[in-house]
Point group: C2
Chain length 157, copies 2
DNA sequence: ACCCTTGTTTTGAACTAGTCAACTTAAGGA
DNA sequence: TCCTTAAGTTGACTAGTTCAAAACAAGGGT
């Protein structure tokens, strides 16, 4: 495809900079990465990159809709590039791996709570908590727990 | 009713202490209170109560199932006493007020993602984001924003 | 009614994720 | 190439929460 990240950035009015391209690269490789993972990963291409810059880049990407921020309870925020398709997430209680899952009940019925109590709802956020396949094997669970932290986000659907 | 908090605590094997009763009282009055609100509220009955103690009490209550912890993205954790009925939450983007909402699609279908990707799911957490009735009136929005912080949790269904 | 065990509270420090502000750098249109 | 302004850098700082050791008290046993 000819739609490069540089193009996508310019389309949204953002300048094309090395930190931004690095962060986008890391996010392509780690579909659910936290800020720390992104800093570490992006330093492969840009060794002096600071965490604050990454936070700035992520805020910019999220605000123009190129990235989405998810915050599973009890864990640092994760970022993903899959946007605009109203999908949800499976989170493993044991190792923290995140997988994508399409909306459970069709198109976007998520947006219709049974009783909105006067609220105007614009988004439904769904997190399914459970155990990933690897963590269901008790013996393997411990070692997997450490591996999974390294490859956080490697188990996307 | 004759099921006092003291009873409920003993039933679960927890000792009955003043900090615990105070916290339970505050939670009864504020159905979605954060730790800080609880500390402040509980000090009405127990002025020397420390935040750490409240965190300890809340952990104890959550671990025996007397309370539930919810963590809306970007906000401190909230605690509620309504447990065991798989209900969800409406959160106002403007003022942070939280309201309860029953499971959108019947009994517990929330537990069935369309494709579980090998996960064994044990809970579905749903957060509906939007604007509460008060924050839908632009003119009033600003002043409401401050009020609502004080009465956080006052808008339960 | 008292004592003893063990769970709780207290006290104080520490930690993590993330934010803020002032300054420097560089993207990209003129 | 210059200039404007967005973006990156640097460093201090905060909120929310957790950890650890010592003091305390709930409630069962005697």
């Amino acid at each position: 495809m000819e739609t490069t990240w540089a193009h996508r950035l310019r389309e949204t009015g953002l300048r094309v900079t090395r930190p931004r391209l690095s962060v986008l690269d890391v996010l392509s490789a780690h579909p659910h990465a936290d800020a720390d993972t992104i800093v570490t990963g992006a330093r492969a291409q840009h060794p002096t990159l600071s965490p604050q810059t990454v936070y700035g880049v992520l805020d910019a990407l999220v605000s123009v809709g190129l990235a989405r921020r998810i915050e599973p309870a009890g864990a640092p925020a994760l970022f993903e590039l899959r946007v605009g398709d109203n999908h949800h997430h499976l989170v493993c209680r044991s190792c923290g791996v995140v997988a994508d899952v399409d909306c459970a009940v069709g198109a976007a019925p998520c947006l219709s709570p049974s009783d909105a109590a006067g609220f105007v709802v614009d988004e439904a956020e769904v997190v399914f908590w459970g155990l990933c396949r690897a963590c269901q094997q008790p013996a393997a669970a411990e070692s997997v727990q450490f591996e999974a932290h390294e490859i956080r986000g490697g188990a996307s659907a």
